[in-house]
Amino acid sequence: MAEFKEVSPNASVGEKLLNWVDNRFPASKMYKEHLSEYYAPKNFNFWYFFGSLALLVLVIQIVTGIFLVMHYKPDAALAFGSVEYIMRDVPWGWLIRYMHSTGASAFFIVVYLHMYRGLIYGSYRKPRELVWVFGCAIFLCLMAEAFMGYLLPWGQMSYWGAQVIVNLFSAIPFIGPDLSLLIRGDYVVGDATLNRFFSFHVIAVPLVLLGLVVAHIIALHEVGSNNPDGVEIKGPNAPKDANGHPLDGVPFHPYYSVHDILGVSGFLIVFSAIVFFAPEFGGYFLEYNNFIPADPLKTPPHIAPVWYFTPFYSMLRAITSEMMYALIACVVGGAFLGVKNIKMPAIAKNAVIGAALVVVLLMLSIDAKFWGVVVMGGAVIILFFLPWLDKCEVKSIRYRPDWHKYLYAVFVVNFIVLAYLGVQPPSPVGERVSQVGTLFYFGFFLLMPWWSRLGQTKPVPDRVTFTPH
């Protein structure tokens, strides 16, 4: 137990109270560790708003969600009507509902930008691997949250979207059909499915999500924030003042807490504008077909997931039996180059050749449908491995070879093109483009251990780039 601290008898009531608490709970200690004495690099730029904004959107979603649950009915016969009831009859219900539905899209916008920041400044590199891994787990939870939440209004898109995604699991050989039955709880998406998705959406996944957010922040505060220069401000050689505080750092509170309020204000202006003037956002945030009650006998003529899932959905659609030949060629080529160019013992070479053969055989014997699911899942899972794929000498894009910048630009454009194709109806040209896009997406990550080493990096300064103003 820590030493019991006494305050002078003349101290104010507030001081006495705080001392009483501090002797029983580390209130002041935590305040210092995470706010008033948490040193963050002083050269944060615009990109650093999105972490705190993600936290803000999480709070918006939780609060509006709690109020929506008070009026919503998780019953296949009543769900659609209860959402319309919230929209029309509950006083201000429309506002709470639009905040929640817009919040879902806002969450993904903020999180995609937050992840992109991590990508360009190398914020996932040692020693921040776990910060990144927890973040990827949060992203997975968010996807689950969004998917299950979208079923709840029980509109046509809710119904058929859930039907498609749950059927993805039935593509897994042997256990698939039983697994999707277990997820649905019925032979078709129905009342049982709606009820369990409601339970997952309002309690199970949010609990996991909150735990992961805490882990994400604890891990971040343990290793310290990265910055646009990728310079370690708390490293053993970093300049420090007489008290051992980094010269390139500044306490989070009050500087960044106030700084983040600017971000919050900007965000809320845009957010409110959408909530009040364009809550459906042209059918991208709330799809028009979802204003039609679920009909198990008729799929709407054009179904597409909500925009934030579409890059991954495009990759799913790209895997046709024709595309499998391209993938087989990639596996064979990869194994050949690996064996030829990488130094390893003979047994490892044989293992690589054997593994490639097994994979090719599986690819030939299992339907393209299953591999589409593997590709879609792999596109998210591969993000977890980013810290170990990047072998560049420097962290930040600022000091990487110039052509890296172009490559990142192509990566972003490719991601947006895939997202665009995912909302479009299937077409032969779109299919080809998404196939090339899928190969590029995976090539970007899987070949990173090689390409990230190439080229001449620029010298990284000892101190962060910062001009006082």
């Binding site: 058929w160 039907q163 498609v164 995604i165 749950v166 059927n167 993805l168 039955l181 277990l182 997820i183 649905r184 709880g185 019925d186 032979y187 078709v188 129905g190 049982a192 369990r196 198990p296 006998l297 008729k298 799929t299 709407p300 003529p301 054009h302 179904i303 799913l316 659609r317 895997i319 046709t320 039996s321 024709e322 339907d367 393209a368 449908k369 589409g372 109806p425 299937p426 077409s427 299919e431």
Partner: protein
Amino acid sequence: MSDTPVDASKRTWLIASTCAGAVGGAAVVVPFVSTFQPSEKAKAAGAAVEVDISTLQPGEKMTVEWRGKPVWIIRRTPEQLETLKKTEGQVADPASDRTAYPTPAYAKNVHRSIKPEVFVGVGICTHLGCSPSDKFQTGPQPSLPDDWQGGFLCPCHGSTFDLAGRVFKNKPAPDNLEVPPHMYLSDTKLLIGEDKKA
């Protein structure tokens, strides 16, 4: 770590009780996971459906619900039946030999039906379970090949099927549309969900 010697018997009991606890914990998972299975009520709801097709005109389609899924009944015109010969070479599994959704023996023929003109099939794409849309109009149109003979297009991932529910080659859907067990009670009365074998 302390230097106290390991008490072997205490350690044995610790390991044994930890294992017993883990087994108990794992056993508790079983009832929880079991609740995910379809309830007895859901299993019971699956009765066969009787359909009167006397008013179904050539070229028309009707949809009935069986086990929560759409079942299509189409009375094909002679011209439409003729197109099946043209699509024969373009479909992935012309003779319905794949076994994922086994085609009943009485429908394992060119037209995949008991009566040549009346097609009975589950209107659920074998890819990811969307319900394909009717594309009976022949000729070039969006998302379809120019030599389109009439059939179905799945709006989700673009799988196409001919008028016998056979999937075209190189599409995401691996299998032909399922033909449910069905039988004729009379010339115009169909029973979907049961056949003579059962």
